[in-house]
Amino acid sequence: MIAYILGRIASLFISLIVASLVIFMVVEVAPGDPAAFMLGVNAKPDTVAALRAELGLDVPKAERYLNWVTGMVQGDFGTSYTYRSPISKMVAERLWVSLPLAIYALILSTLIAFPAGIYAASRRGRIGDLGVMAATQLGVAVPNFWFAMILVLIFAINLGWVSAGGFPGWDKGFWACMAALTLPAIALALPQAAILARVMRSSLLDMLDEDFIRTARAKGLTEGQALWRHALKNALIPVLTILGLQFSFLLAGSIIIEQVFYLPGLGRLVFQAITQRDLITVESVVMLLVFAVIVVNFLVDLTYAVVDPRLRARH
């Protein structure tokens, strides 16, 4: 178990170092000078040079990379070129929107997918199974931003129950924020739930064909009892993998939903920084997201070990 964890940690560090190099190179290679962008078309060359010096852009790239990495290790992500405020503070503010939204969506997705997947598996080939499968097919096929617009049309414009977007801020109270996050969370959760339900169902069905389930049935359990007591736990590994991937996606990839609901989340921060050539912000936020994804994967790996005793034994 210890060796297994150490191995995972080592791979985590290597991934981080490689990621930081790749991110820095890709972002720096893209054309466009941040200082020229900020000053626009009337700026004189000496003004641009003055701003480049002020932003620290006149330092050689290798040195900038080292400064950036050493800064991050010490928890200093630098200062945004365009916003002129510390990136760690900006990211923290955005995380208070993106993280609750991701968790909210993940909970919704799980609450829908688990029962639906288990129900479909238990009714294999019957009408209930077909119904769930048809619904999930639809859920996978419909893009979440389109679904989001339909939700806005019904619940914000026609019924007026919630606002069409925006985020009031946590100082305005928990329930106001939850209300603002509900439509985005539903829009994010449904396509994820559809995928998760399908994985849950097929994984369970694979288990139900296994010998140990036949044994369980032979010793007198009903199909339902066999499913709940024996198949479910064993079917969880693929489901957990998908769940981990989905959480990373929800955290980093909700940019389109943030755009539709104009939420001040991480995705919009990255998008805005890219269009404004706020290189350091792009680099630092992407690095943080990579870190989050790697850590989530690491945690999923650890959960495997908890769920599957063989993994513990093997290492």
Binding site: S85, G166, Q259, D278
Partner: protein, 494 residues
């Protein structure tokens, strides 16, 4: 209690409520814009979104733009100009305070202008201050600006957002916590979402009707429509979905304002790159373009055709559209005359706004009809600045020039379309030195004619200012002579 007194009390309660209802007009407003300002310092960046939030609201200059684009006094109460046009003496308003409580005086004016024109200044419009030789404090309420040569546009230049007066104590932190002298003070900025302002109780001028104002940033056109329809916002300044405007126009809950901006949208040609170095080719391109088709196709009909680089709402504007009317036959003839009977192939680089991306497709088709093939590349703004504006590596591009009164860019041969004309530069030099309004008008019109005669660029249309608002909001600017949302003019109908 008698019947009489009970009636009296209920009557007075009703009267009280009725009175309250009449007296209590709404005093807050939520204004949305598409782009969020990168920071809130109008002296430290070119982004228009900065001025849209802070100009006239938080920060004020010696002079200001009015809603019709004319120049009015602001922090300067009055001024005198010496006979040789070199010395401007400004009398400042008394009793003006910055939002941090410090007093505004001539020292602040000197500090602000010296800072903007300094060697290491990062002011995006440093050329506004080019002729200023010296700023002298005469007494706390009098300041003198000495010019190295007469500049008829000084009062205009001082009205820009880039020339606002800042306090020495707070200049460095204005990017995130702006402190000015305006009718509204900064309260809070939730980055990515909104900026909150509140009325400045110590304002030196008339108190605005609004108590608080919130600017929200909604980049997505669909979200802009939903937010307006759901009532999340009261005003959308620069509405990004013109296709939805008829729906708002038909709805009595809303008003739609269609005005003019300072945005001359042009098909810029690289005047030093073959074959655009030949005026016949440029003339051929100009005649190949059907402006109305572009306005209808790319802008849903919103926009005014222009024939030169000047805003049609300006009294000095002359309509030269006929000189480059849509005439594909003439265009082919001109190409043949230029020795290109089979046309040619060139590049067209398109920045992100829809006037460029949608307009570019239409123009490419119109040019193809006369034999000019274009290779279209879509670029981001930063890339546009580097490749088109910086290295001049392009044949054609479409861009809207939104600075007010920017015909002067044609006097710079290094400017990205590389128009190099000594006669034009002479006109501009004379214009700068002229203060007589009649003479100035003549010169400005001569300049408009010259660039139209030389077919420097394809002149397409003036960008429209599109505002959607709740029907009860009054005092909004229909036109946008400068990027601004003047909150002190806004109120709610009772």
């Amino acid at each position: 209690m008698t019947h009489f007194s009970r009636n009296l009390i209920s009557a007075s309660i009703i009267a009280l409520f009725a009175g309250m209802g009449a007296a209590q007009a709404q005093t807050d407003i939520k204004i949305a814009m598409q782009l969020e300002p990168p920071n809130l310092d109008p002296t430290g960046g070119a982004a228009e979104a900065i001025d849209s939030v802070v100009y006239l609201n938080i920060f004020e200059g010696l002079t200001r733009f009015a809603s019709d684009g004319s120049i009015e006094p602001e922090l300067a109460e009055s001024w005198t100009i010496s006979d040789d046009g070199l010395v401007y003496t400004f009398k400042l308003h008394d009793g003006v305070r910055f939002h941090d409580g410090t007093t505004f005086d001539a020292e602040d004016v000197k500090f602000s202008l010296d800072r903007a024109r300094a060697e290491d200044s990062t002011n995006a419009q440093k050329q506004l201050f080019a002729q200023i030789a010296d700023v002298t404090v005469v007494d706390p309420l009098t300041v003198q600006i000495t010019l190295s040569q007469p500049n008829g546009a000084l009062l205009f230049n001082l009205a820009w957002g880039d020339a606002v007066i800042v306090g020495p104590e707070t200049a460095a932190t204005n990017a995130t916590a702006p402190v000015g002298t305006g009718p509204f003070r900064f309260v809070n900025w939730v980055q990515g979402d909104r900026v909150d302002l509140a009325r400045n109780p110590d304002y030196w001028g008339p108190a605005p009707a609004l108590e608080t104002a919130t600017f929200r940033f909604i980049p997505d056109p669909t979200a802009a429509f939903s937010a307006m329809m759901a009532g999340d916002i009261n005003v959308f300044s620069g509405f990004p979905a013109p296709e939805n405007l008829p729906q708002f126009e038909a709805d009595p809950r809303f008003q739609v304002l269609v005005g003019s901006t300072e945005g001359e949208t042009i098909l810029a040609m690289n005047n030093k790159q073959a074959p655009f170095d030949n005026v016949l080719v440029r003339q051929a391109v100009a005649h190949a373009i059907d402006r109305q088709a572009i306005i209808d196709g790319a802008m849903f009909g919103y926009g005014t055709p222009i024939g030169t680089h000047f805003a049609p709402h300006n009294p000095d504007y002359i309509d030269l559209t006929a000189q480059s009317n849509y005439d594909p036959e003439l265009s082919k003839q001109l190409l043949a005359e230029a020795g290109l009977p089979d046309g040619f192939t060139t590049t067209m680089k398109l920045p992100p706004p829809s006037y460029a991306r949608r307009g570019g497709e239409i123009i490419a088709a119109q040019l193809r009809a006369v034999g000019i093939q274009t290779e279209i590349t879509n670029v981001e703004w930063a890339q546009w600045l580097e490749e088109v504006f910086g290295s001049k590596n392009y044949g054609l591009t479409i861009v809207s020039h939104t600075e007010p009164f920017d015909i002067g860019i044609y006097a710079n041969p290094e400017y990205y379309f590389q128009y190099d004309s000594q006669p034009f530069r002479d006109i501009m030099t004379e214009l700068t030195a002229t203060t007589d309004p009649v003479k100035r008008t003549e010169l400005v019109q001569a300049a408009q004619r010259m660039i139209a005669d030389d077919y420097v660029n394809g002149y397409l249309f003036q960008l429209a200012a599109l505002t959607v608002a709740k029907a009860e909001v009054q005092g909004l600017w229909a036109n946008a002579p400068v990027a601004a949302n003047d909150l002190s003019a806004i109120s709610w109908k009772q």
